[in-house]
Symmetry: C2
Subunit: 205 residues, 2 copies
């Protein structure tokens, strides 16, 4: 694969029609998530968790939770991208490999842990927003990773969070942020949609 | 530039030390934001707005709003990535180029406008979350776009939103989601930080 990053960004489109018999093996699922986990997060919280729904039973339950949207069943996998609201409590542990590797000085790691604890503890709004932010950053990387591996993807925001929490192994502090379908596209997907002109979305200051 | 998407994901790291005399010309700023705008969003809402802070005066104000973090001043540009909470009200207009181009059938565009209006109108929590989601997706693409153009980037979540709203030309329905510094890196930035193992962040279902 030699798709450049700039071409990937220009060419990516959201897919909803997949070849329904395609299967992603475990090493492909692992690699997709290893790459998604390379995304940035505040304090390197890495406050994300991905549930790859690949079983027939899981797909049926997720389709129902996603208001019947058929691509959940036809995609090879649909990832429930979760953000985590209590990650500040495990930050020390999550930074410790970087401290051991010499990437983050120990005193700075300790300062981050203190700062994250100070800002996040008891601030449910910030915890929730940070979970959505980190989950969304990782979801975007997951889509590019899929594209780089010759796969198509589609992000879905329409789902019943309560049903997802009920039927899937989310952790206590996981909140579902987005669903990402991944698979082999059919030929009859829509082309890339038009975008707002740059002058409408960019302001210099 | 021939950096592949997979290598970009593997190699990207957050930079905080920039060559302070580097300047990004307007065509580079435009291209970065044109690419960021290729990101996906619910209903293709494209509910984002980017403020490129490039002036000395703007940088000084933004540095103060970002609790003195020096990279806001040394980066060639810092983008205030905003999400928009009222985008459902302009969705018809935003979809119309895709309808005209034949990318989205008119009846489906109308159905999306109705659905977005139904779910978003009066639901301030959803509006706010959707703004963070879309802003974060676009922020991630912006970082990869910078990388593809030979630049470095760094995401920053620590800032005073009220000061940003006071000093910069945010629209009435813009909320600042993240700051993204972009520029030419110095040689003494930290290496990429360690990540959690895949088995800790991926669950199959």
């Amino acid at each position: 694969m030699s798709l450049t990053i700039l071409d990937a960004i220009k060419q990516r489109k959201s897919v909803s029609k997949y070849q329904k018999d395609a299967v992603l093996d475990h090493s492909t699922l692992n690699e997709l998530i290893r790459l998604a986990g390379c995304s940035p997060s505040a304090y390197n919280l890495q406050n994300w968790h991905f549930i790859a729904v690949i079983s027939d039973e899981g797909k049926a339950l997720l389709k129902a939770a996603a208001f019947g949207q058929p691509q959940v069943e036809t995609a090879a996998a649909t990832f429930i991208v979760c953000g985590q609201v209590q990650a500040h409590k495990t930050l020390q542990k999550r930074l410790s490999p970087s401290v051991k590797a010499g990437t983050i000085p120990a005193d700075i790691a300790n300062a981050w842990v203190a700062a994250a604890s100070r800002s996040h503890e008891g601030n449910f709004q910030l915890q929730h927003e940070e979970a959505i932010r980190s989950g969304s950053l990782a979801a975007m990387t997951l889509m590019y990773a899929a594209q780089g591996m010759g796969l198509a993807s589609g992000a879905m925001g329409g789902f019943d969070a309560e049903q997802i929490k009920k039927h899937f192994p989310l952790g206590d502090d996981d909140i579902p942020v987005m669903l990402i379908t991944v698979g082999i596209p059919e030929k009859n997907n829509w082309p890339q949609k038009e975008r707002r002109p740059v002058e409408e979305i960019l302001t210099l200051a």
